[in-house]
């Protein structure tokens, strides 16, 4: 594990202390967990905005695509598939 020192705003330190008490974990553990949650949140947002593909999301979160699908379903994050895309999809069966 590497070591990094950083300056935090008073407000962020207060939040860290508040969460440490709530979760009964030391500051360092809490800070690490918050970084992890922050990373996950940001990647999910990138996915939702269409900046990251499903496979890309799975890679960034170190999980399989199946696990990523389960996570997205659990969080109820809408798939970035538009209604027009949906209507277009019927064409392949019309051509059959």
């Amino acid at each position: 594990m590497g070591v990094v020192s950083l300056r935090l705003k008073d407000r962020d330190l207060e939040r860290l202390d508040e969460l440490s008490k709530l979760e009964r974990k030391d500051r360092s553990t809490m800070a690490r967990e918050l970084l992890e949650h922050g990373w996950e949140f940001l990647m999910l947002r990138y996915y939702k905005e269409g900046k990251l593909s499903l496979e890309g999301l799975a890679k960034k979160l170190n999980m399989s695509i199946s696990e990523a699908v389960d996570l997205l379903a659990e969080l109820g994050i809408e798939a970035p598939i538009g209604f027009e895309d949906y209507l277009t999809g019927f064409n392949i069966f019309k051509d059959k």
Partner: protein
Amino acid sequence: MEIVFDASTLILLAKIELLREITEEVKAIIPRKVKAECLSKKSIDAILISTLIKEKKIEVKKAGNAKAVNKIQRDFRIEAGEAEALWLARRLNCPIAVDDGPTIKACKVIGQRFATAIHFLLNLASQDRLELSMAIAKLAKLSHYGRYSREIIKDATERLKGGD
């Protein structure tokens, strides 16, 4: 009909336990990278996909032309499995089954025909291969895992009930 499947649609259809029926309707093809991704960790859907590959209901093909696959990846900011599936579908001149936003965007740009998991469910129901009550139950499950918009689910429900 031959269709190349991306991992997204393959996994969704496996999760709603409809993949076997679909592979009896269409000739399902996947590139090697998609196979590797789907089987990377043990899960029920991975076991089903692996079984269907062994039964030759899903054919695994080499995508070929690594340069072209890399270019697709770079141009459309998608990953290797998605790019291989897209390239293979182009090469075989057949549609791609994909439930991934950026890959669908890429399909629209290059004029690649595509469908998502919900289309396979509706197609199966329209051919009376699924009873209405079962189709509605599968749609509910697919709505959970596929996370389609309300507008899409509403339309799909109407199509099922209307028999279109």
